[in-house]
């Protein structure tokens, strides 16, 4: 797991660099889920064979964290670093929300509330085929305002989609305010009420993320929701829990400070 921390720092820095280069927003939201993404892509828990789409699958339902996903895909060698640097530029397929023309992206996202249903469809299809692989969907807490999330939640438990795992990046900020103030109901209880296995963890602690996912993989009947309590802007002190970084982009000088924090 030591290695994971090193990779997550590299991905954090790469994500900040991309935001700076492309002047692209949503950096805080990307940083809060870097540890989750790192465990998904760089631990021994899942096997991705994205070109054939035959093994485990990952859907970034919170598509606005694309920069963090693209950084993972580059470190994973699904895309080249040359391609990664085209992020946000004119004529690049690496747009600010992911589309499936990019190696490693199986589902185009960006409008919130779609990825979980898509994951349900894939998982149901694989259940019919009697396949045992796992499908992981990463949601944001703000995304759980969407009614379609709860349609999918009820569907998944009724169809016993035990191979489906939803991670909720609960950084308790959405675009314009505190998630808990904008949308009511207790996150953990809601998923439980919809018939899911629920775990509640520190979503910036890679060991806890690893253990929760390992446990989720063993579920026999229910789909699993892992509520990952995270910090928006995690890893860079002056960004942490500061919602200005939902839209703000780091300056050249700030990027130098970030490099010092993360890469030394």
């Amino acid at each position: 797991m030591k290695n994971i921390t090193k990779i997550s720092n590299q991905i954090r820095f790469q994500t900040c660099k991309l935001s700076h280069q492309a002047k692209a927003a949503h950096l805080g939201s990307a940083l809060s889920c870097v540890d989750i993404l790192t465990v998904i892509f760089f631990s021994d828990l899942f096997k991705f064979d994205i070109r054939k789409n035959s093994l485990d699958k990952f859907i970034l339902s919170k598509g606005h964290a694309a920069a963090a996903l693209y950084s993972c895909l580059a470190f994973k060698k699904f895309i080249s670093f040359k391609k990664l640097n085209e992020y946000g530029k004119n004529n690049s397929v690496l747009e600010e929300h992911p589309n499936k023309k990019i190696n490693g992206v199986i589902c185009s996202t960006g409008s919130l509330g779609h990825g979980l249903s898509f994951g349900c469809g894939i998982t149901l299809g694989e259940k019919i085929k009697n396949l045992k692989n796992k499908n992981v969907v990463l949601l944001s807490d703000g995304e759980c305002n969407e009614g379609s999330i709860w349609e999918a939640a009820g569907f998944a438990s009724s169809k016993k989609l035990n191979n489906l795992i939803a991670l909720i990046d609960f950084n308790n900020w959405q675009a314009t305010g505190r998630s808990k103030e904008i949308f009511g109901g207790e996150m953990k209880k809601k998923w439980q009420a919809f018939g899911w296995n629920v775990m509640d963890i520190n979503g910036n602690n890679t060991k806890q993320i690893y253990n929760a996912l390992k446990k989720a993989k063993k579920s026999k009947k229910k789909p699993t929701a892992i509520i990952c309590n995270t910090i928006k802007g995690k890893g860079i002190k002056f960004m942490e829990d500061n919602n200005n970084w939902h839209y703000r982009v780091p300056t050249k000088n700030e990027l130098k400070v970030i490099e010092k924090i993360l890469m030394q």
Partner: protein, 308 residues
């Protein structure tokens, strides 16, 4: 039409077990045999159409040929973003089946009317829009839709539609309108079961020395532009008949093609479902009458067109 749909679906699933039927908590008795014969090919998704639509996209990604089935209004407008982003943007072979399209559920009120669906869905790239006129044509077109593996909206009626193809054998092909009557003075273009109202007028029209041609535009998207150009070249007087809002349907498509050709001098008249919410329409017959879509109103329009 829905009974025929259930029947042919059972038949086709016997040969193709990739077909998965997703229902929005509808068709209880209708699909009983299908469920019995193919228990792994049917899933009731509940009254949650948005999720059902994206689940279908996920199933299609996994190599299946999913069909979503519920009342047209709910399967199109409630789900339009899912149709756009999850099915069409990702170009996945899902068939969206709407039952009771147009005014099929006229007496259930505006919530159940679907007269804007074609206009809205026509703006979504990659989506084919198919409207069978009767059950015989549905039987001919449905296997073609499955074979095409394209995102498709299949706009069905409800039940007990009178046949349009009667004793004539239907040989419709996706992408080309079918001429169902050869005439000369005027040309009627339409789709769906409303064409039956036009066919019923033939003998009366003949008494008035009007011999219309009738074309059945079962494929609204992709529209066959060369075929429309040929029709516009051949006939000066055109009547478009559709159980759809006056905007966004076949009348718009034909008119825009005419406008693109500066030398075309056609007169194009349309009968349609207007651009108002319909309250107190009652049954289909009565609603059609109120909107000018009944036989008598169409007859008057054809006579007027012929006199111009």
């Amino acid at each position: 039409m829905r009974n025929t749909f259930a029947k042919i679906l059972s038949k086709l699933t016997k040969k193709n077990n990739k077909i998965i039927l997703l229902s929005g908590d509808i068709g209880n008795k209708l699909f009983d045999n299908f469920k019995k014969d193919h228990p792994n090919n049917f899933y009731n998704c509940g009254v949650a159409e948005s999720n059902m639509t994206t689940v279908a996209a996920g199933l299609a990604f996994s190599g299946f040929q999913p069909i979503t089935y519920t009342i047209t209004s709910f399967n199109t407008l409630k789900t339009i973003e899912q149709i756009k982003l999850d099915i069409c943007y990702q170009d996945l072979p899902v068939i969206i089946v709407g039952v009771g399209s147009g005014l099929g559920y006229s007496n259930l009120g505006t919530t159940h009317h679907s007269i804007e669906d074609i206009g809205l869905l026509s703006n979504i790239p990659n989506l084919n829009i198919i409207v069978p006129t009767d059950k015989q044509e549905l039987e001919i077109l449905f296997p073609q839709i499955l074979k095409s593996k394209k995102p498709t909206f299949l706009r069905l009626g409800k039940k007990n539609e009178k046949p349009v193809y009667d004793s004539n054998k239907c040989n419709s092909k996706i992408g080309k309108a079918t001429q169902i009557l050869r005439g000369k003075n005027v040309c009627i273009l339409g789709y769906g079961n409303i064409l039956r109202n036009c066919i019923d007028l033939i003998s009366q029209l003949k008494k008035n020395k009007i011999n219309p041609s009738i074309y059945n535009f079962h494929t609204l998207k992709p529209i066959n532009k060369p075929q429309i150009i040929k029709i516009l070249e051949k006939y000066r007087k055109i009547l478009v008949v559709e159980e759809h809002n006056k905007f966004g349907g076949l009348f718009n498509r034909v008119s825009e093609i005419k406008t693109s050709k500066q030398n075309f001098k056609n007169i194009i008249i349309s009968v349609n479902a207007g651009d108002k919410f319909i309250i107190g329409g009652g049954d289909l017959k009565n609603t059609q009458k109120k909107l000018g879509l009944d036989k008598n109103s169409i007859l008057k329009k054809i006579k007027l067109l012929n006199s111009l």
